[in-house]
Symmetry: C2
Subunit: 337 residues, 2 copies
């Protein structure tokens, strides 16, 4: 949620605000305590989150964290939106590959396109990492960043989830959106730290989560800059630059944010090191794992999953005091109706 | 300037603020028009800056820019602080190399250390880029990010500029600090985009400029993550990851910010592509070049300079409508007294 442009928090505004508070002139609703997490069921998970936020924002308390240090990092796939039966970006790759093959039929007969487009998962798996890399390169490079952004937005506008038949951007977890909003209302700066492509996420994260492009960290490819006449363009090159997963997450946080989070949320072993980097530090720290336990309303998966495998992090959670959120038990609502 | 932690701009606060404004309860100083750029002499440069800011913030006007798009990027060396007679980071490299050689006398006899520490500039120049790279690697890697940060802070606390005999962090340009503050007071988010090392800048930019670590973009080396017992560490590796200079600046802006600035400031050809990327776009855009013309109060240099060479960008400025700030003419004060 960007702050309305008419409001600029100058020192003057802050003084006026402080003065009004002292005069007891606050509006009546300022006194009302509303539930900041209405889509969370009452219980230990919700209580722990609210307790943490109250402790770190209580200025005179022993766990107070200055506002500039209130950094919160969130994984995206499986933590903020549904990642089953496929990563959304994988669906995008398939759609883009189909588009490319339609425009260039010769491509449709070549691997790995042939296997992908005929649904031949065995051959695709046999092509391994090189096959995936070839598909990523074909669908994510050789165009300008502007053209790529448009292709993402265009695809998201029409693509539908195979089970829920809704746009992917509607399959974001309402309890996590409330958590992001609640943290921001308490002075936290919220970031996405995802293995997904940074340029795949930025076109829609502000609208979906209230997280602006400059607070989205993800995997990326190399780029190049040139002037075309008087028009500068940035082109996406067929080379991996950074993989923001596993150990890459603390490295990405260090590179992009430059200070350690006090709050982090993930859902898989790809988030393990981010949760360590956040919590194995002095002062109050909070980590949360979204555990997918709800086969009825979403999906149920953890240790043996191909996507979003949660194994080591689940074992480490009790030892580190990380909150494991049981989706079925702790969430009243999964998606906005 | 971090916002005081007691102030959290919730919707409630915004409503109260709006109500107070309507009631005419604003403090007396809210009515006063004070000069936002007191260290700038009156004249065309100052007028153009203020005119631009007024135009993009006038909600009903044709040049209005929504607050979330008000991105401003600033080079550091020579734009926000003095870069003569040497880049400050080069002074740090020399001091660190001396420290290393003291601890390990064998090193003092080896190149490029020998040339650097004996002041033999000719030999150092002959060793070329490899010599510089060896010095950067020796002084900037093989330690944790925490240890490096401490070494930067420790050095800055005692190092003095050879001519002005003041800490380097006092040799920041007061007119530019005012400009940063003025832009932020008008809803701009200010970033540093510098060829300097990101981890060399982050320890002090918040205090010096009000720019937090996550809004500092710079050159970087690769890093690795590991757990030492229960302590996670990030180590700086002897490999260049990203050079944030020249064409690297728009690429860094694209990677770290993900949207194009509407305001950019630089002082050398290393900023040329950033100024192009900012201004060669639709809508109101502003670019500024700090031209070092003041041999008395600071330094005078441009086309033939070894450091901060301003040649192509100076030629391109009139064609692109970039403001060339004449330090001698336009700045009333250079440094805070």
């Amino acid at each position: 949620m960007p702050i309305p442009s008419t409001f600029i928090p100058t020192r003057r505004a802050l003084l006026v605000f402080a003065a009004v508070n002292m005069l007891g002139l606050t509006a009546p609703e300022a006194q009302t305590q509303t539930d900041p997490l209405p889509s969370w069921n009452d219980g230990a998970a919700k209580t722990r989150i609210i307790d943490f936020v109250q402790r770190v924002t209580r200025q005179a308390g022993p766990d107070f964290v200055p506002i500039e240090d209130r950094i919160a990092t969130f994984d995206n796939d499986g933590t903020l939106w549904t990642e089953q039966p496929n990563y959304v970006q994988a669906e995008f790759v398939e759609a883009r590959a189909r588009e490319l093959a339609n425009a260039n039929p010769e491509l449709a007969g070549r691997q790995p396109f042939k296997a992908l487009l005929s649904g031949d998962r065995a051959t695709l798996a046999a092509l391994g990492e090189q096959g995936i890399a070839d598909l990523m390169i074909a669908t994510h490079s050789g165009m300008t960043t502007t053209a790529f952004e448009k292709s993402v937005s265009d695809w998201l506008a029409t693509a539908r989830h195979p089970r829920f038949n809704r746009p992917y951007t509607e399959l974001i977890y309402q309890p996590m959106v409330e958590l992001l909003t609640y943290l921001r209302a308490n002075g936290f700066k919220t970031f996405i730290v995802s293995g997904g492509g940074v340029e795949f996420m930025r076109p829609w994260t502000e609208k979906a989560y209230g997280i602006p492009p400059e607070q989205v960290i993800g995997s990326s490819g190399k780029t190049s800059y040139r002037l075309e006449g008087d028009t500068p363009v940035i082109e996406k090159l067929p080379t991996v630059e950074f993989v923001d997963d596993g150990s890459g997450k603390p490295l990405g946080i260090n590179r992009f944010i430059g200070r350690r989070p006090v709050f982090a949320a993930g859902n898989s072993d790809g988030d393990l090191q981010m949760l360590q980097w956040t919590t194995l530090n002095t002062g109050p720290r909070f980590a949360l794992i979204v555990h997918h336990t709800d086969v009825e309303r979403e999906y149920a998966y953890d240790r043996q999953s191909q996507i979003g495998r949660l194994d080591k992090a689940l074992d480490e959670a009790p030892k580190r005091g990380w909150l494991v959120v049981d989706m079925k038990r702790d969430w009243k609502t999964i998606y906005k109706p």
